[in-house]
Symmetry: C2
């Protein structure tokens, strides 16, 4: 049957269930079908790419953890011991890890993709986080990574001590949301730490009065891992691949991609509402209705991974479920 919005709604409503009784699963199934332009969508393969990078702003004590943890976690990802690895193995999703600019010397490991744009960004509370060349390089590398293989869906995760600061500033500048309401505890700041972080972010935001383009926001306040994820999202959406958007940081990359290219939106499913303070606010600004709300705030793509089996099930519902006619089931009395 040729694809149309009417044929799609008809197909969903003729499945053997009361209309609407699968709630969000029906909404997701419709989005996937529209993206793939078919009434029998396929959602079988998925990969997680974790982008790691360091942030100059972390030198100001904006995180509860020291900067070296970014590098240590890259090794943990490569060793298969992080939460994202465990969830990915459990859910049968492959993982690749990208060094976008971890502080210190390059990490040598056969499985690590080296796409370094520097040894961490500049401190964005006092100057631009990255140059135009670095930003362009991040987009290009991101596109290349997304284009390199074909999956029905992709999860993008991140690791970078200090990157809730970056994401907070991105949302603040893109959507003009109140900075203090967006500023959260990240990996676990105490009250003093949170006040210090808020002061530093205020100084950073005040550095660039006036409206900035999405590209300028990323150059001023972004991270290499966030910018590269934006590039990967732009390319994935262009090729019709479903993007499962993770939490607070990944949403900042998604918001940037959407601001740069509005047509990416239909390719995105928002996986979960993070416990990081600003995420719910940012999601409202993005008009996003995430699938999960598990009080998680880890990043790495962990929320996106947990949404994957639901998304897979949604596509299978449309492709495999019997209709009232085919199963000989009566409709409403």
């Amino acid at each position: 049957m040729p694809f149309s919005a009417a044929a799609l709604q008809n197909a969903i409503d003729n499945k053997t269930k009361p209309p609407g009784s699968l709630g969000q699963i029906e909404r997701i199934a419709a989005q996937i079908a529209a993206l793939q332009k078919t009434l029998v969508p396929k959602m079988e393969s998925c990969r997680l790419t974790i982008f790691a990078g360091d942030h100059g702003i972390a030198a100001n004590g904006t995180s509860a953890y020291p900067q070296e943890v970014t590098r240590q976690m890259v090794l943990n990802f490569l060793g298969g011991g992080a939460a994202a690895n465990v969830f990915a193995r459990t859910l049968n999703v492959g993982v690749q890890v990208v060094d976008t600019g971890v502080a210190g010397e390059p990490i040598s490991h056969p499985a690590l993709l080296n796409r370094r744009l520097g040894a961490g960004t500049e401190d964005c509370s006092i100057r631009a986080a990255m140059t135009t060349a670095q930003f362009d390089g991040a987009l290009e590398h991101g596109r290349g990574i997304a284009d390199s293989e074909r999956f029905d869906a992709v999860c993008f995760g991140e690791m970078g001590i200090g990157n809730t600061s970056s994401a907070t500033l991105i949302f603040h500048k893109l959507f003009d949301l109140p900075l203090l309401e967006l500023t959260g505890r990240g990996t676990g700041l105490d009250d003093d730490g949170l006040r210090r972080k808020a002061d530093i972010l205020r100084a950073a935001a005040n550095r660039t009065p006036g409206k900035l383009s999405a590209a300028d926001v990323m150059m001023e306040y972004g991270g290499f891992e966030i910018a590269m994820m934006t590039g990967a999202m732009l390319a994935a959406a262009k090729s019709g691949t479903l993007i499962i958007v993770d939490g607070f940081i990944a949403s900042a990359a998604a918001a940037t991609a959407m601001a740069m290219q509005a047509t990416v939106r239909p390719a995105m499913i928002f996986a979960h509402t993070s416990a990081e303070q600003g995420h719910a606010l940012a999601l409202r600004a993005l008009d996003a209705e995430p699938l999960l709300n598990l009080n998680m705030r880890l990043g790495e793509g962990t929320g996106a991974l947990l949404a994957w089996p639901l998304i897979k099930s949604a596509a299978a519902m449309l492709t495999e479920m019997a209709s009232f006619d085919s199963a000989g089931v009566s409709g409403p009395a």
Copy 2:
């Protein structure tokens, strides 16, 4: 390491992630570990059992669908075309179907478990739904089904036109919750239908003034499928099997099992909040914090199935994730 609550919390907090950052996944992991009394829980095998049965009260027009749909859906389950089949296949969970008392002649099918207690219950708006012998038989069959094989977790689903009426009356009588607030649209009643259903349920409830035991509530207002599910839950909990509780109807079976035997509670994880009106209220009475909220209201075990990969991931987190020590990752600064 020997199992203790302190050792468990220590193990969770030493995983390479900020403490608490996996939210509900950590809570679930702790519950599974405590149930299995180990710091390395196993959550690999799961089966869905769908209990089908008819309800005498349906003759009063309490459902949007005709009674024959119960039988038709049993055939749909056996043919693999229902939503529960599709989700189960996608998530690698086996399915078995039990006829607990579908109206009409017994269905002959090699894969169907025949545990019929009658051709549907009596109309509980005018008399008790089942006899003591039928109730005892339902519990016994349920226990037998749960005891017949070993899985790390079980999902119990149901099908029975009219069974939101049964579940509504069970919650009303067990917890003294307001009947009108519990009464919902089921498969999709319109406003007139909802008013009619509310009137009939009021008449049914008024038939038995005074406090009833959980067993009496089930005999007066239950369904064969709900009572058999209660028996299966009691047996599964006794053997230390995790029970993934589905939606409104399955929660009524869970509430009955808990009222009969409080020690079953630690074996239960509530999968999702159903869109059926009374479920959120019932869940509060059960002090349950479900994993998912997808606006679903189909039953069949569909909500329980979608929670399974999250539960599997939670156990894997505890069993497979690296610790700060083992991965050489620094703690907070």
